[in-house]
């Protein structure tokens, strides 16, 4: 037998010790109170499929953000034209990212163009062939920035909503160009969380067009500059939803951006919840001016294109406070206040993928997974012990160390354990046994040819080495590809398998050989228990 350099047993001992220390908290299901603070504290996190929770993949409709910017440009263009004393027949949002200006005097074209170009630098201006219309489109670079900003802003807004709602350890990440991944572990009420996250929450105040003909508008003849929006009221007695149309001036006179606070209050008379909102100084000034201008008219409070209420303005309102009432439950009012405080999403989001696992299913999965892992491992250990006797138990030791190393690394890199991840571990037990089987079968073969035990061991390990290397690397290739392409649970499976394969090479080739050499050192044995 080859001589055993000292560094080999030392390496085995150190790896085993560190792995045990790192794996221990996870194996005990958490850091126990007696566990000293100077020892590793990291515990493998359980995936959503094991502890329950909500996984959401959202798509941010970034094009809508650009569209909104173009719509906002209409007011800017009007202002610029007015200040420059240029007359125009109309300014309108004529395409997705386009605003067109029709001039009254074609000879003012050059001047208008010059003024608009300096005042609105993020627009590309083109002239129509008829020489009376200018078209402004948002330039591509700014569009790209707006799209990026819409996603970043959405992430921040969603994070702030979730933080205020109160979820432990949420994950909110950007995925690709225009997607957001939200993971909320341990969540109980998923539909409420979804409503909280997915709502755009664009709060707008619009003046009701009292002179317009609502009936005609409903038949399709909407007056220029107007819009029909609906309000939804639920009748308290019949519980029937009632859709009521309103004819509103299209222009938003005040929006939720100027809010500083939103709180839930209760109506003293009916004990009904409502949300009271407070504007900042600019908003308060605007609000007071507006209410003064529109006394005895109705002002509609519109949230995401639904009219919540349209109270009549009795008098000028100072102090910058308003209230949103509707037939809310206390819960709805509470969530609405959170959403308004956190602010509107810059663009609507849609749910592309959702996975909710209830807490009881997660618990069942863990129990099942652990039972299966235990039964499977015990079967294999018993078989190996019987089939290869002493060397079989050595292999079992290697497999056990393999699992401990895997758990230690998973804890150390803070990986997430999923149900397929447990399955991966169970499969790994089977496969790491294989490396040991390869070695043991080789040793047996060498023994049969009449070689002495110590030589047979050396030859067995040497010849099995290449086979183990090749077979592990090819399996590792598939594990890595699985990791690259997989999502969520599949990734967890790939991680467990890949780490385990590397650990398996180490334990089967290196550890068992060192231990065997230590045991057989300075002994002249005639037979091997294999």
């Amino acid at each position: 037998m080859k001589p055993l350099p000292l560094w080999k047993p030392v390496t085995v001992f150190v790896v085993a010790l560190f792995s045990l220390l790192y794996a221990a908290p996870s194996m005990m299901g958490g850091v126990p109170s007696w566990w000293p603070s100077w020892l590793p504290q990291l515990v493998i996190a359980r995936g959503l499929d094991l502890q329950g929770g909500l996984y959401l993949l959202l798509h941010v409709e970034v094009d809508k953000a650009v569209e909104q910017a173009a719509e906002n440009m209409v007011d800017d263009v009007r202002g610029v034209m007015r200040n420059a004393k240029l007359r125009y027949r109309g300014v309108e949002h004529s395409g997705k990212e386009e605003v067109s200006v029709k001039l009254s005097q074609p000879d003012e074209m050059t001047q208008a163009r010059k003024v608009l170009a300096t005042e609105i630098p993020h627009a590309v201006i083109t002239e129509d062939p008829d020489h009376t219309t200018l078209k402004l489109t948002i330039n591509p670079k700014d569009q790209k920035e707006m799209r990026n900003f819409a996603v970043e802003q959405s992430i921040q807004t969603i994070r702030s909503r979730i933080d205020q709602f109160g979820v432990a350890e949420p994950t909110i990440q950007k995925q690709g160009e225009d997607r957001i991944l939200v993971q909320l572990p341990g969540l109980k009420d998923s539909s409420r969380a979804k409503a909280l996250i997915g709502r755009t929450a664009r709060l707008e105040f619009k003046v009701v067009d009292e002179k317009g003909d609502l009936a005609a508008a409903l038949e399709g003849r909407v007056p220029a500059g107007d819009i029909v929006l609906y309000g939804e009221q639920t009748d308290k007695k019949t519980k029937k939803a009632n859709r009521q149309p309103y004819l509103l001036k299209k222009r938003t006179v005040l929006s939720g951006e100027l809010l500083t606070d939103a709180r839930v209050n209760f109506d003293s008379q009916y004990n009904e919840p409502y949300v009271s909102i407070t504007f900042n100084s600019q908003g308060a000034r605007k609000f007071s001016q507006l209410t003064a201008e529109h006394v005895n008219e109705r002002m509609a409070i519109v949230l995401d294109n639904t009219v919540y209420s349209a109270p009549v303005i009795r008098e000028r309102i100072d102090g910058g406070r308003a209230q949103i009432s509707g037939s809310f439950t206390a819960e709805e009012a509470h969530d609405l206040a959170i959403i308004l405080r956190a602010g509107a999403l810059p663009a609507p989001v849609t749910i592309m993928e959702e996975r909710t696992v209830g807490p009881t299913l997660g618990r069942d999965s863990i129990e099942h997974g652990i039972t299966a892992a235990l039964v499977g491992s015990l079967l294999v250990l018993a078989f190996m012990g019987i089939y290869y006797r002493a060397v079989g138990w050595l292999a079992n030791l290697a497999v056990a160390l393999n699992i401990v190393i895997l758990l230690a690394i998973l804890a150390w890199i803070q990986a997430t354990l999923t149900l397929p991840g447990i399955a991966g571990m169970v499969l790994l037990v089977g496969m790491s046994v294989d490396a040991n089987v390869l070695v043991n079968e080789r040793i047996r073969e060498e023994l049969r040819t009449g070689k002495p035990p110590l030589l047979a061991i050396d030859l067995g390990y040497d010849t099995a080495f290449i086979t183990i290397l090749d077979s592990h690397i090819t399996t590792l290739i598939t594990a890595l590809i699985l990791f690259q392409f997989g999502t969520g649970p599949v990734k967890g499976f790939a991680v467990s398998l890949a780490i385990g394969l590397v650990a398996s090479m180490f334990t089967a080739i290196f550890v068992t050989r060192v231990v065997l050499a230590m045991v057989l050192k300075n002994r002249r044995i005639k037979s091997l228990s294999i």
Binding site: E353, G358, S365, V426, D470, F485
Partner: protein, 312 residues
Amino acid sequence: MEIFPHKTSIDFVGISWIAYLLTGLMFVASTISLATQGMHMGIDFAGGTLIQLRFQAPPALQDIRTTMVGLGLGDVVIQEFGTREEIILRVQKQTGDDGKPGELAAKIIKALEPLVGKDPIELRRVEFVGPQVGAELEQKGFLAMLYSIGAILIYVAWRFELRFAYGAVIALAHDAYCSMGLLSILQKEFTLTIVAAVLTIVGYSINDTIVIYDRIREEMRRNKKSSLAEVINIAINRTLSRTVITSGTVVMVLLALLLFGGEVIHDFALVLLFGIIVGTYSSIFVASPIVLFFEKKRSDHTKTAPKEEVAS
């Protein structure tokens, strides 16, 4: 303890006609099933909503069906999941009719409540996959399969020879195809987790094949005068006990997973179990004969010496 006598000398190459028959049979059965009934695509790929509910007492499926028809959700598949109290609903329609996302489950539970009186219905799981994500996942799964096969082809060609690489790749394509065939025949749902299972089969099958190839390479060097068919026979026989023991232990573990792993992991374990058995079979009866086939195809009978190993 030993399962096999020291020296088996089964003429694997000679009895390969049995293998052709069996492989042909599996291939035909898989192809017919895939062509006629196809894969039962799960919502991961087809898109849609899956809702798992647990009732306090076994509900009447017929009543649930009637209630679902009343909701007008289009096609709804209703089935028991593991126990009789547990029900899975699969809905094609993406969202509630008012277009608000994620209210479908709440709506369905509300509609079902009159059926069970006061006992609460527990929402165990909701999965919703939009059509775009479904298409992306399908593409990803397909690419993963393709890349694995490509990478293995390159690695085996580098470590061994090209004809070995062909054999390995054909063997694992065989395993993947038969596993898909089984899924189609049993009409088990094809999900992301199943893709992981099939890829694992690919990984295991290649592992098994490499062990035999490695032995073929070794025996080729040792027995320069023997024909390739003889060498292959020797190699398979020498590794036979290892092959059976390893597959046996993996099968043991998978049986434990199948029996105790719970309903969520059940199909995953089933596909793996089938795939491991087929993968073991294909290493012996598909991968090795193909090396021989490419050997025969060579017009010049000059035997090229196998590549030397890099490390030893």
